[in-house]
């Protein structure tokens, strides 16, 4: 969905922006369901709270990665910056699978890797 500029009412703009602020509840709900036992149920409010938490997680990690880029005077936030930020913020378990993925990708691209992940 593309943001409309000027052509919509403020309500439509607000609805669009609100939707864009969160990941889709169906995707989030499905991931939660896959982790829980078959007989578990998830309230809609729990799914909505998880949507908010995931968006906050993305913003939190992105801000940390972006600050690193600013200090190093780089304009583009890349995958290595995200991995570094995850590890820095205590999500080491998440950074490790990314490390392998990132290195494979780097090898394919035949570029130098600073072992940031």
């Amino acid at each position: 969905m593309e943001d409309s500029i000027g052509g919509s009412s403020s309500n439509d703009n607000n609805i669009i922006k609100e939707q864009d602020r969160l990941l889709p509840i169906a995707n989030v709900g499905r991931l939660m369901k896959q982790i829980l036992p078959q007989n578990a149920k998830i309230s809609k409010e729990a799914k909505e709270t998880m949507q908010e938490c995931v968006s906050e997680f993305i913003s939190f990690v992105t801000s940390e990665a972006s600050e690193k880029c600013r200090k190093e005077r780089r304009k583009t936030v890349n995958g290595d910056d995200i991995c570094w930020a995850l590890a820095t913020l205590g999500f080491d378990d998440y950074a490790e699978p990314m490390r392998r993925k990132s290195r494979t990708k780097i090898q394919e691209a035949s570029t130098n890797q600073n072992d940031l992940c």
């Binding site: 991931l31 007989n39 578990a40 998830i42 709270t49 995931v54 913003s59 583009t76 999500f91 998440y94």
Partner: protein, 123 residues
């Protein structure tokens, strides 16, 4: 307490396998990244891909810890209070305390679960 990381390796293939290469929309992740701050100018192509995986692991860990809270409350339905309790109990989730507190302030003060009636989404 079992470590979530010990399980994420086992599940990551399954989750991705069931829902295609990415279970979360990359364009939406990129938009959220851009909205995180005005100094986020450019985002490389692989960053949202890495985030889609990291978000799966995040959802897995928070859901798992929330479920422990629900079980301790002798319930089979995950409520948002369970998420709030899991956030409060886990150090790496401390950045979420304000967010979960604002939606349910009494969850911070005590373990009492007042909301006995919940709408169950059976979809």
């Amino acid at each position: 307490m079992r470590q979530a990381g010990a399980y994420s390796g086992l599940l990551c293939g399954g989750v991705s396998g069931r829902t295609g290469p990415h279970s979360l929309p990359l364009a939406r992740i990129k938009k959220i990244m851009k909205n995180s701050g005005e100094d986020v100018k450019m985002i490389s192509g692989e960053a949202p891909i890495i985030f889609s995986k990291a978000c799966e692991l995040f959802i897995e860990e928070l859901t798992r810890r929330s479920w422990i809270m629900a079980i301790q409350g002798k319930r089979r339905t995950l409520h948002k209070e369970d998420l709030a309790s899991a956030v409060i109990a886990t150090d790496i989730f401390d950045f979420l305390i304000t967010l979960v507190s604002s939606s349910e302030s009494h969850a911070v003060g005590g373990a009492t679960n007042v909301m006995e009636v919940e709408t169950i989404d059976c979809s």
